[in-house]
Symmetry: C2
Subunit: 281 residues, 2 copies
Protein backbone atom coordinates (compact mmCIF):
# COMPACT_ATOMS: atom_id res chain seq x y z
CA UNK A 1 0.00 0.00 0.00
CA UNK A 2 0.94 3.64 -0.36
CA UNK A 3 0.74 6.56 2.06
CA UNK A 4 -2.72 7.84 3.00
CA UNK A 5 -3.60 11.30 1.72
CA UNK A 6 -2.74 14.09 4.16
CA UNK A 7 -5.82 16.07 5.20
CA UNK A 8 -5.93 19.84 5.00
CA UNK A 9 -4.35 21.69 7.97
CA UNK A 10 -2.48 18.53 8.99
CA UNK A 11 1.10 17.49 8.41
CA UNK A 12 2.33 13.92 8.24
CA UNK A 13 3.68 12.39 11.44
CA UNK A 14 7.26 11.24 11.99
CA UNK A 15 8.29 7.84 10.63
CA UNK A 16 10.98 6.14 12.72
CA UNK A 17 12.68 2.95 11.52
CA UNK A 18 15.20 1.54 14.04
CA UNK A 19 17.92 -0.95 13.04
CA UNK A 20 17.20 -3.45 15.84
CA UNK A 21 18.87 -4.14 19.21
CA UNK A 22 18.40 -0.53 20.35
CA UNK A 23 19.68 0.35 23.83
CA UNK A 24 16.85 -0.07 26.33
CA UNK A 25 18.43 0.26 29.81
CA UNK A 26 21.48 2.54 30.28
CA UNK A 27 20.85 5.48 27.95
CA UNK A 28 18.01 4.70 25.53
CA UNK A 29 18.49 7.74 23.27
CA UNK A 30 16.39 6.39 20.42
CA UNK A 31 13.37 5.30 22.46
CA UNK A 32 13.55 8.52 24.52
CA UNK A 33 13.45 10.62 21.34
CA UNK A 34 10.55 8.47 20.09
CA UNK A 35 8.57 9.38 23.23
CA UNK A 36 9.45 13.08 22.82
CA UNK A 37 8.16 13.30 19.25
CA UNK A 38 5.05 11.33 20.28
CA UNK A 39 4.08 14.06 22.75
CA UNK A 40 6.49 13.60 25.70
CA UNK A 41 4.57 13.65 29.01
CA UNK A 42 1.32 13.58 27.02
CA UNK A 43 2.35 10.64 24.80
CA UNK A 44 -0.07 7.72 24.47
CA UNK A 45 1.95 4.90 22.88
CA UNK A 46 0.43 1.83 21.25
CA UNK A 47 2.91 -1.06 21.08
CA UNK A 48 2.28 -3.72 18.40
CA UNK A 49 4.24 -6.91 19.25
CA UNK A 50 2.72 -8.99 16.39
CA UNK A 51 6.11 -9.68 14.76
CA UNK A 52 7.45 -11.33 17.90
CA UNK A 53 6.90 -14.90 19.09
CA UNK A 54 7.92 -14.02 22.67
CA UNK A 55 4.97 -13.52 24.98
CA UNK A 56 6.53 -10.69 27.02
CA UNK A 57 7.73 -8.39 24.19
CA UNK A 58 4.73 -6.07 24.38
CA UNK A 59 4.84 -5.77 28.18
CA UNK A 60 8.56 -5.05 28.09
CA UNK A 61 8.10 -2.06 25.76
CA UNK A 62 5.10 -0.84 27.79
CA UNK A 63 7.40 -0.59 30.82
CA UNK A 64 10.22 1.12 28.92
CA UNK A 65 7.97 3.77 27.38
CA UNK A 66 6.34 4.51 30.77
CA UNK A 67 9.76 4.81 32.43
CA UNK A 68 10.76 7.26 29.70
CA UNK A 69 7.89 9.50 30.75
CA UNK A 70 5.06 8.67 28.35
CA UNK A 71 1.58 9.34 29.72
CA UNK A 72 0.57 5.79 28.81
CA UNK A 73 1.81 2.79 26.85
CA UNK A 74 -0.40 -0.10 25.86
CA UNK A 75 0.49 -3.31 24.02
CA UNK A 76 -2.07 -4.51 21.46
CA UNK A 77 -1.14 -8.16 20.86
CA UNK A 78 -2.85 -8.86 17.51
CA UNK A 79 -2.24 -12.56 16.83
CA UNK A 80 -4.80 -13.33 14.09
CA UNK A 81 -6.49 -11.48 11.23
CA UNK A 82 -9.72 -11.58 13.25
CA UNK A 83 -7.92 -9.79 16.14
CA UNK A 84 -7.12 -7.01 13.66
CA UNK A 85 -10.85 -6.14 13.50
CA UNK A 86 -11.39 -6.01 17.33
CA UNK A 87 -13.16 -2.73 18.00
CA UNK A 88 -11.82 -2.35 21.56
CA UNK A 89 -8.19 -2.51 20.39
CA UNK A 90 -8.88 -0.37 17.31
CA UNK A 91 -10.36 2.23 19.67
CA UNK A 92 -7.15 2.33 21.72
CA UNK A 93 -5.08 2.54 18.53
CA UNK A 94 -7.17 5.50 17.31
CA UNK A 95 -6.27 7.45 20.49
CA UNK A 96 -2.50 6.85 20.18
CA UNK A 97 -0.04 9.70 19.65
CA UNK A 98 2.72 7.19 18.82
CA UNK A 99 2.64 3.65 17.39
CA UNK A 100 5.62 1.30 17.80
CA UNK A 101 6.15 -2.09 16.10
CA UNK A 102 8.50 -4.47 17.91
CA UNK A 103 10.99 -6.76 16.18
CA UNK A 104 10.52 -10.37 15.11
CA UNK A 105 9.42 -11.52 11.64
CA UNK A 106 8.18 -8.85 9.22
CA UNK A 107 6.09 -11.41 7.29
CA UNK A 108 4.15 -12.06 10.47
CA UNK A 109 3.21 -8.36 10.47
CA UNK A 110 2.24 -8.34 6.78
CA UNK A 111 0.35 -11.67 6.77
CA UNK A 112 -1.63 -10.93 9.95
CA UNK A 113 -2.22 -7.17 9.59
CA UNK A 114 -1.96 -6.53 5.81
CA UNK A 115 -5.26 -5.36 4.33
CA UNK A 116 -6.95 -5.15 7.78
CA UNK A 117 -8.43 -2.23 9.71
CA UNK A 118 -5.20 -2.00 11.74
CA UNK A 119 -3.04 -1.34 8.65
CA UNK A 120 -5.56 1.20 7.29
CA UNK A 121 -5.85 2.95 10.65
CA UNK A 122 -2.07 3.30 11.07
CA UNK A 123 -1.70 4.86 7.60
CA UNK A 124 -4.45 7.35 8.44
CA UNK A 125 -2.98 8.13 11.88
CA UNK A 126 0.42 8.88 10.36
CA UNK A 127 -1.18 11.07 7.65
CA UNK A 128 -2.79 13.22 10.36
CA UNK A 129 0.36 13.67 12.41
CA UNK A 130 0.85 10.60 14.63
CA UNK A 131 4.41 9.24 14.99
CA UNK A 132 4.86 5.66 13.74
CA UNK A 133 8.06 3.66 14.25
CA UNK A 134 9.44 0.22 14.79
CA UNK A 135 12.58 -1.78 15.29
CA UNK A 136 14.08 -4.50 13.07
CA UNK A 137 11.05 -6.27 11.49
CA UNK A 138 9.03 -3.31 12.77
CA UNK A 139 11.27 -0.98 10.73
CA UNK A 140 11.12 -3.08 7.54
CA UNK A 141 7.30 -3.08 7.49
CA UNK A 142 6.99 0.74 7.38
CA UNK A 143 7.69 1.27 3.65
CA UNK A 144 5.70 0.41 0.52
CA UNK A 145 8.22 -2.21 -0.64
CA UNK A 146 9.90 -4.21 2.14
CA UNK A 147 12.63 -6.83 2.12
CA UNK A 148 10.86 -10.03 3.16
CA UNK A 149 13.96 -12.18 3.51
CA UNK A 150 17.39 -12.64 1.93
CA UNK A 151 21.01 -13.58 2.46
CA UNK A 152 24.06 -11.61 3.60
CA UNK A 153 27.05 -10.53 1.52
CA UNK A 154 28.33 -7.31 -0.04
CA UNK A 155 27.79 -8.12 -3.73
CA UNK A 156 24.31 -7.68 -5.21
CA UNK A 157 23.10 -10.89 -6.84
CA UNK A 158 19.91 -11.96 -8.55
CA UNK A 159 17.65 -13.80 -6.11
CA UNK A 160 19.62 -12.65 -3.05
CA UNK A 161 16.57 -11.00 -1.50
CA UNK A 162 12.80 -11.04 -1.89
CA UNK A 163 10.43 -8.10 -1.70
CA UNK A 164 6.92 -8.10 -0.25
CA UNK A 165 4.40 -5.28 0.16
CA UNK A 166 4.84 -3.43 3.47
CA UNK A 167 2.41 -1.03 5.18
CA UNK A 168 3.39 1.83 2.88
CA UNK A 169 3.76 4.79 5.25
CA UNK A 170 6.42 6.01 2.83
CA UNK A 171 7.33 5.07 -0.72
CA UNK A 172 10.56 7.05 -0.78
CA UNK A 173 12.69 4.35 0.84
CA UNK A 174 13.44 0.66 1.10
CA UNK A 175 14.66 -0.17 4.60
CA UNK A 176 17.16 -2.78 5.74
CA UNK A 177 18.18 -3.39 9.37
CA UNK A 178 20.96 -5.10 11.40
CA UNK A 179 22.85 -3.68 8.42
CA UNK A 180 26.56 -3.82 9.24
CA UNK A 181 26.06 -6.65 11.75
CA UNK A 182 24.62 -8.96 9.07
CA UNK A 183 26.54 -7.64 6.03
CA UNK A 184 23.49 -6.61 4.03
CA UNK A 185 24.73 -4.11 1.44
CA UNK A 186 24.42 -6.73 -1.30
CA UNK A 187 20.78 -7.50 -0.56
CA UNK A 188 19.80 -3.83 -0.33
CA UNK A 189 21.48 -3.13 -3.70
CA UNK A 190 19.80 -6.23 -5.17
CA UNK A 191 16.30 -4.97 -4.41
CA UNK A 192 17.08 -1.41 -5.54
CA UNK A 193 18.38 -2.89 -8.80
CA UNK A 194 14.83 -4.10 -9.67
CA UNK A 195 13.48 -0.57 -10.04
CA UNK A 196 15.79 2.30 -9.10
CA UNK A 197 13.12 4.73 -7.88
CA UNK A 198 13.56 4.42 -4.12
CA UNK A 199 16.36 5.41 -1.76
CA UNK A 200 17.87 2.54 0.25
CA UNK A 201 18.48 3.05 3.95
CA UNK A 202 20.58 0.40 5.70
CA UNK A 203 20.29 0.80 9.48
CA UNK A 204 22.94 -0.54 11.82
CA UNK A 205 21.78 -1.91 15.16
CA UNK A 206 21.02 0.70 17.86
CA UNK A 207 20.64 3.30 15.10
CA UNK A 208 17.51 5.09 13.93
CA UNK A 209 16.28 7.24 11.06
CA UNK A 210 13.87 9.96 12.20
CA UNK A 211 12.01 10.84 8.98
CA UNK A 212 10.42 14.23 9.57
CA UNK A 213 7.17 15.63 8.15
CA UNK A 214 9.40 17.91 6.00
CA UNK A 215 11.03 14.87 4.29
CA UNK A 216 14.33 15.44 6.10
CA UNK A 217 15.84 12.41 7.83
CA UNK A 218 17.75 12.86 11.11
CA UNK A 219 20.19 10.15 12.23
CA UNK A 220 20.49 9.11 15.87
CA UNK A 221 22.03 6.23 17.85
CA UNK A 222 25.34 4.44 18.16
CA UNK A 223 25.94 3.16 14.59
CA UNK A 224 25.53 4.46 11.06
CA UNK A 225 22.97 4.60 8.29
CA UNK A 226 24.21 3.52 4.85
CA UNK A 227 22.15 5.57 2.43
CA UNK A 228 22.03 4.31 -1.17
CA UNK A 229 20.87 6.87 -3.74
CA UNK A 230 20.18 5.37 -7.18
CA UNK A 231 18.56 8.48 -8.70
CA UNK A 232 21.40 8.76 -11.22
CA UNK A 233 21.94 5.04 -11.78
CA UNK A 234 23.21 4.56 -15.31
CA UNK A 235 22.71 0.82 -15.71
CA UNK A 236 21.28 -2.23 -13.94
CA UNK A 237 21.73 -5.74 -15.36
CA UNK A 238 19.00 -7.22 -13.12
CA UNK A 239 16.70 -7.94 -16.08
CA UNK A 240 19.05 -10.60 -17.42
CA UNK A 241 20.92 -11.88 -14.35
CA UNK A 242 20.40 -15.57 -13.57
CA UNK A 243 19.81 -16.67 -9.93
CA UNK A 244 23.05 -16.30 -7.97
CA UNK A 245 24.79 -14.19 -10.63
CA UNK A 246 26.25 -10.86 -9.52
CA UNK A 247 24.46 -7.77 -10.85
CA UNK A 248 26.22 -4.96 -12.71
CA UNK A 249 25.18 -1.54 -11.38
CA UNK A 250 26.84 1.74 -12.42
CA UNK A 251 26.34 5.22 -10.98
CA UNK A 252 25.35 4.40 -7.39
CA UNK A 253 25.80 7.20 -4.84
CA UNK A 254 26.48 6.21 -1.22
CA UNK A 255 26.44 8.20 2.04
CA UNK A 256 27.45 6.83 5.45
CA UNK A 257 25.57 8.94 7.98
CA UNK A 258 26.11 9.04 11.75
CA UNK A 259 24.40 10.66 14.74
CA UNK A 260 23.51 14.26 13.96
CA UNK A 261 23.72 13.88 10.17
CA UNK A 262 20.70 14.71 8.01
CA UNK A 263 19.46 13.77 4.54
CA UNK A 264 16.91 15.73 2.54
CA UNK A 265 14.74 13.45 0.39
CA UNK A 266 13.52 16.34 -1.77
CA UNK A 267 16.90 17.82 -2.71
CA UNK A 268 18.73 14.47 -2.21
CA UNK A 269 21.43 16.25 -0.18
CA UNK A 270 23.29 14.83 2.81
CA UNK A 271 24.44 17.16 5.60
CA UNK A 272 27.13 15.89 8.00
CA UNK A 273 26.91 16.42 11.79
CA UNK A 274 28.39 19.63 13.24
CA UNK A 275 32.09 19.18 14.07
CA UNK A 276 32.94 18.67 17.77
CA UNK A 277 33.85 21.90 19.64
CA UNK A 278 37.44 23.10 19.11
CA UNK A 279 39.75 22.14 22.01
CA UNK A 280 42.75 24.23 20.90
CA UNK A 281 42.63 27.05 23.39
CA UNK B 1 5.80 3.84 -6.83
CA UNK B 2 2.18 4.71 -6.20
CA UNK B 3 -0.42 6.51 -8.33
CA UNK B 4 0.09 10.25 -8.96
CA UNK B 5 -2.44 12.55 -7.34
CA UNK B 6 -5.43 13.34 -9.55
CA UNK B 7 -5.74 17.07 -10.21
CA UNK B 8 -8.97 18.95 -9.67
CA UNK B 9 -11.50 18.71 -12.54
CA UNK B 10 -9.69 15.66 -13.95
CA UNK B 11 -10.47 11.99 -13.66
CA UNK B 12 -7.92 9.21 -13.89
CA UNK B 13 -7.40 7.57 -17.28
CA UNK B 14 -8.16 3.95 -18.14
CA UNK B 15 -5.60 1.30 -17.14
CA UNK B 16 -5.53 -1.67 -19.52
CA UNK B 17 -3.49 -4.79 -18.70
CA UNK B 18 -3.61 -7.43 -21.46
CA UNK B 19 -2.68 -11.10 -20.85
CA UNK B 20 -0.28 -11.38 -23.82
CA UNK B 21 -0.68 -12.88 -27.31
CA UNK B 22 -3.67 -10.64 -28.11
CA UNK B 23 -5.25 -11.02 -31.55
CA UNK B 24 -3.63 -8.52 -33.93
CA UNK B 25 -4.89 -9.43 -37.44
CA UNK B 26 -8.37 -10.96 -37.88
CA UNK B 27 -10.49 -9.24 -35.28
CA UNK B 28 -8.32 -7.35 -32.77
CA UNK B 29 -11.09 -6.52 -30.28
CA UNK B 30 -8.75 -5.58 -27.45
CA UNK B 31 -6.45 -3.27 -29.41
CA UNK B 32 -9.45 -1.70 -31.17
CA UNK B 33 -11.09 -0.91 -27.83
CA UNK B 34 -7.74 0.49 -26.62
CA UNK B 35 -7.75 2.93 -29.56
CA UNK B 36 -11.38 3.88 -28.87
CA UNK B 37 -10.77 4.80 -25.22
CA UNK B 38 -7.62 6.67 -26.25
CA UNK B 39 -9.65 9.06 -28.42
CA UNK B 40 -10.57 7.00 -31.52
CA UNK B 41 -9.86 8.99 -34.69
CA UNK B 42 -8.13 11.63 -32.54
CA UNK B 43 -5.93 9.13 -30.66
CA UNK B 44 -2.20 9.81 -30.45
CA UNK B 45 -0.62 6.56 -29.24
CA UNK B 46 2.88 6.29 -27.81
CA UNK B 47 4.22 2.73 -28.03
CA UNK B 48 6.99 1.76 -25.58
CA UNK B 49 8.79 -1.38 -26.81
CA UNK B 50 11.49 -1.32 -24.08
CA UNK B 51 10.55 -4.76 -22.70
CA UNK B 52 11.18 -6.43 -26.06
CA UNK B 53 14.50 -7.54 -27.54
CA UNK B 54 13.06 -7.69 -31.05
CA UNK B 55 13.92 -4.66 -33.16
CA UNK B 56 10.58 -4.50 -35.00
CA UNK B 57 8.17 -4.70 -32.06
CA UNK B 58 7.56 -0.95 -31.88
CA UNK B 59 7.05 -0.56 -35.62
CA UNK B 60 4.63 -3.49 -35.68
CA UNK B 61 2.36 -1.87 -33.07
CA UNK B 62 2.63 1.53 -34.82
CA UNK B 63 1.14 -0.09 -37.94
CA UNK B 64 -1.62 -1.91 -36.05
CA UNK B 65 -2.76 1.17 -34.15
CA UNK B 66 -2.82 3.26 -37.37
CA UNK B 67 -4.81 0.55 -39.17
CA UNK B 68 -7.28 0.59 -36.29
CA UNK B 69 -7.92 4.28 -36.97
CA UNK B 70 -5.71 6.13 -34.51
CA UNK B 71 -4.70 9.63 -35.63
CA UNK B 72 -1.05 8.75 -35.00
CA UNK B 73 1.09 6.04 -33.38
CA UNK B 74 4.72 6.52 -32.53
CA UNK B 75 7.20 4.04 -31.04
CA UNK B 76 9.62 5.47 -28.46
CA UNK B 77 12.41 2.85 -28.24
CA UNK B 78 14.01 3.71 -24.87
CA UNK B 79 16.98 1.36 -24.56
CA UNK B 80 19.03 2.98 -21.78
CA UNK B 81 18.39 5.06 -18.67
CA UNK B 82 19.92 8.04 -20.53
CA UNK B 83 17.32 7.58 -23.33
CA UNK B 84 14.64 7.98 -20.65
CA UNK B 85 15.68 11.64 -20.22
CA UNK B 86 15.65 12.53 -23.98
CA UNK B 87 13.59 15.71 -24.27
CA UNK B 88 12.42 15.03 -27.84
CA UNK B 89 10.87 11.68 -26.89
CA UNK B 90 9.50 13.02 -23.59
CA UNK B 91 7.81 15.77 -25.63
CA UNK B 92 6.06 13.20 -27.84
CA UNK B 93 5.06 11.20 -24.74
CA UNK B 94 3.53 14.31 -23.15
CA UNK B 95 1.23 14.74 -26.19
CA UNK B 96 -0.05 11.15 -26.14
CA UNK B 97 -3.68 10.29 -25.48
CA UNK B 98 -2.79 6.61 -25.03
CA UNK B 99 0.43 4.86 -23.93
CA UNK B 100 1.02 1.17 -24.70
CA UNK B 101 3.82 -1.05 -23.35
CA UNK B 102 4.67 -4.08 -25.49
CA UNK B 103 5.55 -7.52 -24.11
CA UNK B 104 9.01 -8.91 -23.34
CA UNK B 105 10.73 -8.82 -19.95
CA UNK B 106 9.12 -6.68 -17.25
CA UNK B 107 12.45 -6.25 -15.43
CA UNK B 108 13.80 -4.57 -18.54
CA UNK B 109 11.02 -1.99 -18.16
CA UNK B 110 11.67 -1.47 -14.45
CA UNK B 111 15.47 -1.41 -14.63
CA UNK B 112 15.62 0.97 -17.62
CA UNK B 113 12.64 3.25 -16.89
CA UNK B 114 12.16 2.97 -13.08
CA UNK B 115 12.79 6.30 -11.33
CA UNK B 116 13.25 8.19 -14.64
CA UNK B 117 11.31 11.04 -16.23
CA UNK B 118 9.43 8.52 -18.40
CA UNK B 119 7.99 6.66 -15.40
CA UNK B 120 7.05 9.95 -13.68
CA UNK B 121 5.48 11.33 -16.84
CA UNK B 122 3.33 8.25 -17.43
CA UNK B 123 1.98 8.33 -13.86
CA UNK B 124 1.08 12.01 -14.33
CA UNK B 125 -0.49 11.42 -17.75
CA UNK B 126 -2.71 8.66 -16.36
CA UNK B 127 -3.70 10.85 -13.39
CA UNK B 128 -4.96 13.53 -15.80
CA UNK B 129 -6.99 11.17 -17.97
CA UNK B 130 -4.64 9.49 -20.46
CA UNK B 131 -5.19 5.76 -21.14
CA UNK B 132 -2.21 3.55 -20.23
CA UNK B 133 -2.04 -0.14 -21.10
CA UNK B 134 0.28 -2.95 -22.01
CA UNK B 135 0.49 -6.59 -22.86
CA UNK B 136 2.27 -9.42 -20.99
CA UNK B 137 5.36 -7.75 -19.42
CA UNK B 138 3.68 -4.46 -20.30
CA UNK B 139 0.67 -5.50 -18.18
CA UNK B 140 2.74 -6.65 -15.20
CA UNK B 141 4.58 -3.31 -14.94
CA UNK B 142 1.39 -1.24 -14.47
CA UNK B 143 0.80 -1.93 -10.76
CA UNK B 144 2.68 -0.89 -7.61
CA UNK B 145 3.79 -4.45 -6.83
CA UNK B 146 4.61 -6.61 -9.87
CA UNK B 147 5.58 -10.25 -10.22
CA UNK B 148 9.19 -10.13 -11.44
CA UNK B 149 9.53 -13.84 -12.16
CA UNK B 150 8.37 -17.21 -10.81
CA UNK B 151 7.42 -20.76 -11.61
CA UNK B 152 4.17 -22.38 -12.74
CA UNK B 153 1.89 -24.67 -10.73
CA UNK B 154 -1.44 -24.40 -8.96
CA UNK B 155 -0.29 -24.66 -5.33
CA UNK B 156 1.08 -21.53 -3.64
CA UNK B 157 4.56 -22.15 -2.25
CA UNK B 158 7.12 -20.02 -0.45
CA UNK B 159 9.68 -18.70 -2.92
CA UNK B 160 7.57 -19.60 -5.98
CA UNK B 161 7.51 -16.01 -7.21
CA UNK B 162 9.40 -12.76 -6.62
CA UNK B 163 7.96 -9.28 -6.42
CA UNK B 164 9.55 -6.07 -7.67
CA UNK B 165 8.28 -2.49 -7.70
CA UNK B 166 6.29 -1.69 -10.84
CA UNK B 167 5.26 1.73 -12.19
CA UNK B 168 2.41 2.03 -9.70
CA UNK B 169 -0.49 3.33 -11.82
CA UNK B 170 -2.71 1.37 -9.44
CA UNK B 171 -2.14 -0.21 -6.05
CA UNK B 172 -5.42 -2.09 -5.98
CA UNK B 173 -4.17 -5.09 -7.96
CA UNK B 174 -1.32 -7.49 -8.57
CA UNK B 175 -1.36 -8.63 -12.20
CA UNK B 176 -0.33 -11.96 -13.71
CA UNK B 177 -0.47 -12.80 -17.43
CA UNK B 178 -0.44 -15.89 -19.75
CA UNK B 179 -2.43 -17.13 -16.76
CA UNK B 180 -4.13 -20.35 -17.79
CA UNK B 181 -1.56 -21.05 -20.52
CA UNK B 182 1.30 -21.13 -17.97
CA UNK B 183 -0.62 -22.46 -14.92
CA UNK B 184 0.05 -19.48 -12.68
CA UNK B 185 -2.59 -19.61 -9.95
CA UNK B 186 0.00 -20.81 -7.44
CA UNK B 187 2.37 -17.93 -8.05
CA UNK B 188 -0.38 -15.31 -7.89
CA UNK B 189 -1.61 -16.76 -4.58
CA UNK B 190 1.98 -16.89 -3.30
CA UNK B 191 2.52 -13.17 -3.74
CA UNK B 192 -0.92 -12.25 -2.36
CA UNK B 193 -0.06 -14.39 0.70
CA UNK B 194 2.74 -11.94 1.64
CA UNK B 195 0.33 -9.11 2.39
CA UNK B 196 -3.34 -9.68 1.60
CA UNK B 197 -4.26 -6.08 0.75
CA UNK B 198 -4.38 -6.28 -3.05
CA UNK B 199 -6.72 -8.03 -5.47
CA UNK B 200 -5.04 -10.54 -7.80
CA UNK B 201 -5.97 -10.50 -11.48
CA UNK B 202 -4.76 -13.43 -13.56
CA UNK B 203 -5.17 -12.65 -17.27
CA UNK B 204 -5.40 -15.40 -19.88
CA UNK B 205 -3.82 -14.74 -23.26
CA UNK B 206 -5.87 -12.57 -25.66
CA UNK B 207 -7.82 -11.26 -22.66
CA UNK B 208 -7.82 -7.77 -21.17
CA UNK B 209 -8.95 -5.93 -18.05
CA UNK B 210 -10.22 -2.42 -18.81
CA UNK B 211 -9.94 -0.67 -15.43
CA UNK B 212 -12.16 2.39 -15.63
CA UNK B 213 -11.75 5.76 -13.92
CA UNK B 214 -14.71 4.71 -11.69
CA UNK B 215 -12.74 1.68 -10.36
CA UNK B 216 -14.93 -0.76 -12.28
CA UNK B 217 -13.10 -3.38 -14.35
CA UNK B 218 -14.58 -4.54 -17.69
CA UNK B 219 -13.43 -7.86 -19.17
CA UNK B 220 -12.87 -8.28 -22.91
CA UNK B 221 -11.19 -10.82 -25.21
CA UNK B 222 -11.23 -14.55 -25.84
CA UNK B 223 -10.21 -16.00 -22.46
CA UNK B 224 -10.97 -15.34 -18.81
CA UNK B 225 -9.71 -13.30 -15.89
CA UNK B 226 -9.19 -15.20 -12.64
CA UNK B 227 -9.87 -12.64 -9.93
CA UNK B 228 -8.53 -13.46 -6.47
CA UNK B 229 -10.06 -11.47 -3.61
CA UNK B 230 -8.24 -11.90 -0.29
CA UNK B 231 -10.10 -9.14 1.59
CA UNK B 232 -11.57 -11.72 3.96
CA UNK B 233 -8.56 -13.99 4.17
CA UNK B 234 -8.56 -15.66 7.58
CA UNK B 235 -5.04 -17.04 7.66
CA UNK B 236 -1.77 -17.08 5.70
CA UNK B 237 1.16 -19.27 6.78
CA UNK B 238 3.65 -17.38 4.56
CA UNK B 239 5.55 -15.99 7.56
CA UNK B 240 6.81 -19.44 8.54
CA UNK B 241 6.87 -21.39 5.26
CA UNK B 242 10.31 -22.61 4.19
CA UNK B 243 11.36 -22.30 0.50
CA UNK B 244 9.36 -24.79 -1.59
CA UNK B 245 6.83 -25.55 1.15
CA UNK B 246 3.15 -25.13 0.27
CA UNK B 247 1.38 -22.21 1.95
CA UNK B 248 -1.83 -22.58 3.98
CA UNK B 249 -4.39 -19.92 3.01
CA UNK B 250 -8.00 -19.90 4.24
CA UNK B 251 -10.88 -17.69 3.15
CA UNK B 252 -9.87 -16.89 -0.45
CA UNK B 253 -12.68 -15.72 -2.75
CA UNK B 254 -12.33 -16.45 -6.47
CA UNK B 255 -14.21 -15.18 -9.55
CA UNK B 256 -13.68 -16.41 -13.11
CA UNK B 257 -14.74 -13.53 -15.34
CA UNK B 258 -15.28 -13.62 -19.10
CA UNK B 259 -16.04 -11.07 -21.85
CA UNK B 260 -18.72 -8.65 -20.71
CA UNK B 261 -18.28 -9.36 -16.99
CA UNK B 262 -17.46 -6.52 -14.59
CA UNK B 263 -15.85 -6.19 -11.17
CA UNK B 264 -16.23 -3.20 -8.87
CA UNK B 265 -13.09 -2.59 -6.80
CA UNK B 266 -14.92 -0.34 -4.34
CA UNK B 267 -17.79 -2.68 -3.45
CA UNK B 268 -15.77 -5.82 -4.35
CA UNK B 269 -18.72 -7.16 -6.34
CA UNK B 270 -18.53 -9.20 -9.55
CA UNK B 271 -21.27 -8.84 -12.19
CA UNK B 272 -21.57 -11.59 -14.85
CA UNK B 273 -22.12 -10.80 -18.54
CA UNK B 274 -25.72 -10.45 -19.77
CA UNK B 275 -27.14 -13.84 -20.85
CA UNK B 276 -27.33 -14.48 -24.62
CA UNK B 277 -30.69 -13.54 -26.22
CA UNK B 278 -33.47 -16.11 -25.72
CA UNK B 279 -34.00 -18.35 -28.81
CA UNK B 280 -37.23 -20.02 -27.62
CA UNK B 281 -39.80 -18.31 -29.77
Amino acid sequence: MSPARIEEHHSRGWIVPVGGAEEKEQDPVILRRFVEISGGAGARIAVIPTASRLADTGVRYEKIFRQLGAHSARALPFETRADAEREDWLGILEQATGVFFTGGNQLQLSTILGGTSVARSIRKLNARGVTVGGTSAGAAILSEHMIAFGQGGATPKAGLASLAPGFGLTNRVVIDQHFRQRDRLGRLLSVLAFNPFAVGIGLDEDTAAFLGPDDVMHVDGAGAITLVDVANLEHSSMAFAKPGQPICLTGIKLHILTKGARYNFVTREAVPPLPPPDDDD
